[in-house]
Symmetry: C2
Subunit: 351 residues, 2 copies
């Protein structure tokens, strides 16, 4: 099967200067894939003009006249920019022209448009944002990282099913272990939502490993970690803040004086190896999971290497049929584990 | 004024082998302070036998026959161990013999006993756990880090007042800026609780700087960051997990082969300076804030240096009268900002 990925070529901080070279690099690496780049026709045609024939033959330009800005309110992007590169790329998934869509644009707009155009999978109330993060043991799939502020227990169970399917598709783990993010060391054992979710997860047919705490995420205690979007977003951004601070401190110490600069020179290969290991570009690409289509959100400020990773992730998810994986897991669940979840509060505007 | 600190000498992973040398080190550094070490009489008398006279004259042993175990349920510790070193140390604060109490024991038990014995300050519904963390700019005071799973908006405002007072007392900042932890980059702008709290904080008389996101914590965007105990605990433990992983990866790269080991040797002074900068022992000591007394919880596994830091923190809080600081801020608030907060769910058992 030839997999076609639609790319919102205008999205992100750098637009086509990053997205097009990334698409070409991806096509070079994956010889049987196809890409449709969506956006300003003339700009994109120019951008691919010099591509080698074996790559050029597998890339198509699809014109779209509008661009969703990084600060467009999602509702406006949805209602007023019907010909945006983001919207058109998602339409290509909807009509079956493409198997997946990748965008580095405005997350809220992408979620709102993708939800409106593609709809959610059967048994899924709301999509979630899922990402892979490095751990001591390998990789963890974490969700929801910010799409849903308030969740019902049933929705958290749906997230667990989606995260398991995603982990199987991307990491090749057949029955991933699922941890429910909680707080535990103190005498408090979590709020009502977490307690209720744990009971449902035990009966879900998923490989539920029980509660995990914040430090378990990077220990790699479980393959999947599930939480609501408020907690997940705070945890993700807090770790980004800490990583940035530590990198800054390390740099300051190594550049303090000529002697420390000399040791930085000596330690350079080691520091590079360390840097490569935790390079966030390697993990770039968050999946908007739960939709009737594969949609991957790239970090807005990433470079060619990072954006190519996001395209690769979308391709892998299609190749290993993540949508069927979610459907199977939802179908295998007792109805009570996922059914009465109609109490959640909407996070993205319904159009 | 001579400040007296009561120490639960039996608490923590290492008991008197850490707590007593830390108390002696503290007394050596702070010549006008006094310490009461509480626990097994004979053990503690032996432990201070060799102390130099100027220190020995300011340390007293107070006998307590029981010890709260790290895994004792808080309710049991409270009801069944009336003569525990933890309980007796808190009693000494209650009856005015000591100004503050420090324990490295079971957090849940410490919170339950301290709340039962000392009660909360006027206008404070529930105590919170607050800690200082390093940031790019200096230090942030963050709370609640795990005492209260579900909070009302009024309680979060109380936390803001307590955090401000604590920051003033410990960091010497007169009107600390207060950030409310939220998620923002996506189109969702937080849950109902956060929105309601923001409105109250605007009218609280505190130096409210608006919403902050997870990455603002370590950027040092505000002096104080307020959140509920579930979110705070997850964020704190997640950062501990990440820091541990990064340290582990760095170590692995530097010990990979003889050549990398050699560069580790060259880079050793720089790595030590970095390590010192982010040494968690320097920030050891979480305050159980909101009680009618100063109670500081040390990390259970810390060493002499770390435990001495926790004693120093308790001493500083008394010296700069954190309790009066909280009372002043609460008194200055319009009643509506803190009054109707009776909806919170208890996290520690009421005895």
């Amino acid at each position: 099967m030839t997999i076609t990925v639609a790319i919102d070529a205008m999205g992100g901080d750098h637009g086509p200067s990053v997205t097009v070279p990334a698409a070409l690099a991806f096509l070079h690496d994956v010889p049987d894939a196809r890409v449709i780049i969506v956006g300003a026709d003339d700009v994109l045609r120019k951008a691919i003009a010099g591509a080698p024939p074996d790559v050029a033959s597998r890339i198509t330009v699809h014109a779209a006249t509008e661009v969703v800005a990084m600060d467009d309110p999602p509702a406006d992007a949805l209602r007023k920019k019907k010909d945006s590169s983001m919207r058109v790329a998602i339409n290509l998934v909807k009509d079956g022209t493409a198997h997946a869509c990748v965008s580095a644009g405005n997350t809220g707009a992408l979620m709102a448009i993708a939800r409106f155009v593609l709809k959610t999978l059967p048994g899924i109330d709301r999509p979630a944002i899922a990402s892979q993060l490095p751990t001591r043991k390998g990789v963890v799939t974490a969700l929801d990282l910010g799409a849903n502020v308030n969740c019902s227990a049933e929705q958290l169970v749906q997230f667990a099913a989606m995260g398991s399917a995603l982990c199987s598709a991307v990491e090749g783990i057949e029955r991933p272990t699922v941890g429910l993010l909680n707080i535990g060391e103190e005498d408090i054992k979590g709020n009502e939502l977490v307690k209720e979710t744990a009971e449902l997860l035990k009966r879900s047919g998923l490989n539920f490993a029980g509660n995990v705490e914040g430090d378990d995420i990077f220990k790699g205690t479980t393959d999947v970690v599930v939480c609501d979007g408020f907690v997940g977003n705070v945890a993700l951004k807090t770790t980004e803040g800490l990583a940035g601070m530590l990198a800054d401190f390390l740099k300051r110490e190594f550049t303090r004086n000529p002697l420390t600069k000399l040791s930085a020179l000596v330690a350079y290969p080691v520091l590079q190896a360390f840097r490569k290991r935790v390079d966030p570009r390697r993990y770039n690409g968050a999946t908007l999971v739960g939709l009737r289509g594969v949609v991957v959100k790239s970090h807005g400020g990433t470079d060619v290497f990072g954006f190519a990773q996001a395209i690769r992730k979308a391709h892998t998810e299609v190749l290993h049929d993540v949508l069927a994986g979610i459907a199977q897991r939802i179908a295998a669940m007792p109805a009570a584990a996922i059914a009465p979840g109609a109490t959640a509060v909407a996070a993205t505007p319904d159009a």
